[in-house]
């Protein structure tokens, strides 16, 4: 993180399932400081949790010595959250769950994280940078009252 960025807060977590809750609390507190409504804070918490779990599980392969880096950047009307891991990023785009297929055993019951992230925030992208690590980038906007 650029030490000169006076609007960024950074959180660094070992890749241990459960620690995503710390990221949820940190993000929630930043969003509250910025004046986000409680329902948007909930959206953000779930999106941040899912992004951290994916970074730990898929990006860092649950190697606890690998860090998940969460960078919260406060802008005028929006909060951007980048969740970085040391992996190569998701191989495919976002897949919407097909509940009928799941209910007939034709699709894994899992595989909803990226879909939830994309559905809950105003902007979501996944940037794969195999050499420097990859990240999920989420944005929620203050003027958006949610769906």
């Amino acid at each position: 993180m650029n030490g000169k960025n006076v609007n960024s807060i950074e959180l660094r977590l070992p890749s241990r399932l459960g620690f995503e809750k710390v990221a949820m609390s940190t993000a929630s507190s930043v969003a509250k400081l910025m004046g986000f409504a409680p329902d948007r804070v909930e959206d953000l918490k779930t999106a941040v949790a899912e992004a951290c779990i994916n970074a730990m599980e898929h990006g860092n392969k649950l190697d606890e010595s690998l860090i998940v880096d969460v960078i919260l950047s406060m802008n005028e009307g929006s909060l951007e959250v980048k969740v970085l891991d040391t992996g190569t990023g998701p191989p495919e785009g976002v897949h919407a769950p097909d509940m009928d297929k799941k209910m007939h055993g034709e699709e894994a019951s899992r595989g909803m994280g990226m879909f939830l992230i994309q559905s809950l925030v105003d902007e979501a992208e996944w940037v794969s940078a195999p050499l420097t690590g990859s990240y999920a980038r989420l944005v929620i906007r203050l003027n958006n009252t949610g769906d």
Binding site: L17, G18, D39, E50, M99, D100, M103, S109, G111, M112
Partner: protein, 121 residues
């Protein structure tokens, strides 16, 4: 490290019509490590005596997509065995999340236990 974990309590109640209902009351977290609590507890129910199942989320503190996947597996198993499952106690946020992923096609979400019970009739 204290693990808040998943707690689950099984209870038999009766709805207004007198039909027996099996309630699974979850508490704590529902995550990837909740398989024993969610599917294990469900698996211990007899399909003959537990025709109507109620999932109570009102004490759940944290629920993620891996936890929701376990609920989907429970719903899948229940549909195979001809059991009906109703749900209550989800926060508005998680009602939205359940609706987003499409679970509501396979379990109805009710605001409280009484409404959920009445939903079986």
């Amino acid at each position: 490290m204290a693990d808040s974990g998943t707690k689950v309590k099984m209870e038999q109640v009766k709805c207004a019509s007198g039909d027996p209902i099996t309630v699974l009351r979850f508490a704590g977290d529902i995550t990837s490590s909740s398989e024993p609590a969610v599917l294990g507890t469900y698996g211990g129910l007899s399909p003959e005596t537990s025709k109507r199942i109620l999932l109570d989320f009102s004490k759940v503190e944290y629920l993620n997509s891996s936890g929701i996947a376990l609920i989907i597996q429970l719903l899948y198993a229940a549909s195979q065995k001809g059991q009906t499952v109703q749900t209550f106690g989800l926060t508005p946020h998680f009602q939205k999340v359940f609706t987003m992923v499409g679970i509501t096609k396979y379990t109805k979400l009710y605001p409280d236990e009484a409404a959920a019970c009445a939903g079986f009739e």
